[in-house]
Symmetry: C2
Subunit: 213 residues, 2 copies
DNA sequence: GTCATATACGGAGAGGCCCTCCGTTTATCA
DNA sequence: TGATAAACGGAGGGCCTCTCCGTATATGAC
């Protein structure tokens, strides 16, 4: 409700000649670290206490002062959005990470499980995102693309080696996933989604081995 | 922070069947009046200042104390929901009211204009409704039914006397209305919706008079 | 009209939360 | 090692929420 339109010119250190130049120092390590810890704590706090947690609580969990939180995230919307972006990036990024350490079929299966976690977070903070200034739809568009791409990558790889039927459309699969998770609001929805994912994966396997071992 | 966790159990609503069960006094007139004034003020305050207005502000506008507001609406969600319900009822109820004083075609036209006002209110308070406990979807379902019914009534009457083409489906019309109003978030959307409604009404008129004079 | 009383009113006050400001600490770099 | 920009922390002002309880008044009985 506050007219917080002004960002009040943070600091004015005595400047000799602040010319247009690139700051040469590299960013301080503690700053980066605290930023990361804040997002981590915020995610946990959202999950535990809902999207309305006090910012004090988030700072406390992160072990930093409230001033530090505000320096990194000047508005509540900023931290909510940052957490969401980070979730999306972690989910999308995990596709390649999983492909590096697992067989493509297993990577796909595991990624789908991660998707359920992602939706759990999103369910909590989406309302908060919604009441932020209207930029939410753009945010969703970009995140949707990242997730679509990750899904396609996994499906392509799994299809290429015959771990799943070759005619599976990654968009169909994504829609199925969304359906599993967005359905009812029962407290059991996560377990249910995970069971459905297992069943879906069974169904995705090719009817017969590509060739006998 | 003391043991005060009890909600004092909303006043027992009066029974409609005033049989043996309701030897109670009839509700005080000032109570009813204040409740009404609070909802009126809340609607105006939401429109002027957004859904996050302070409850103090709403009470002040209504000319009542903050205690009075809290007696009638124990939570913020309660007043938001009450305002929304009232909007829906007024919109739905205006269908019969308009039919009583206008020709059916005009009534339909006017009702569509009122629909734009309704959407304007809803746009503001929907985010607030969204972050209330999960009962919002049920609320929407019931309001949707009321609006659908009102629309059907108007379309039937207008169709019956030949004010509009006889083959118009009220659901189609409602979808069109929603499309007009939910489109872009430009500041001009209301004027645009009203213009589109006029055009739509022109299109709805039967191509020729029912029979020549 | 008068009275008794259930009902409703108002607003002070306690406690939270948001956000800013600025003195202190610390990481970088010369 | 020292200078300095960058980052930290948290006290404090201000607004908001919600409760409590003494006061006022509408209603119904007589």
């Amino acid at each position: 409700m506050n007219a917080k339109a002004e960002r009040p010119a943070l600091r004015r250190p005595r400047e000799k000649h602040a010319e247009a130049a690139a700051p040469l120092r590299k960013p301080r390590a503690d700053g980066q670290r605290n930023r990361e810890r804040l997002m981590e704590s915020a995610k946990a706090a959202f999950a535990d206490l809902g999207a309305e947690v006090s910012l004090d609580e988030i700072a406390r969990r992160a072990g930093v002062g409230i001033g530090t939180l505000y320096r990194h995230f000047p508005t509540r919307g900023a931290i909510v959005e940052a957490v969401y972006r980070r979730e999306v990036q972690q989910l999308a990024g995990s596709a390649t990470r999983l492909l590096a350490s697992l067989a493509p079929g297993e990577a796909l299966h595991e990624w789908m499980r991660l998707f359920v976690d992602y939706v759990a977070t999103k369910k909590v903070i989406a309302p908060a995102l919604g009441s932020i200034g209207g930029g939410a739809s753009q945010l969703y568009a970009s995140s949707g693309a990242q997730i679509t791409d990750a899904m396609r990558l996994l499906v392509d790889r799994a299809g290429a080696i015959g771990a799943i039927r070759p005619d599976v459309d990654s968009n169909d699969l994504l829609r199925a996933l969304v359906g599993f998770t967005y359905g009812v609001a029962s407290p059991d929805w996560q377990a249910s989604a995970l069971r459905l994912i297992d069943i879906l994966m069974d169904g995705l396997r090719p009817p017969r081995p590509i060739r006998a071992p």
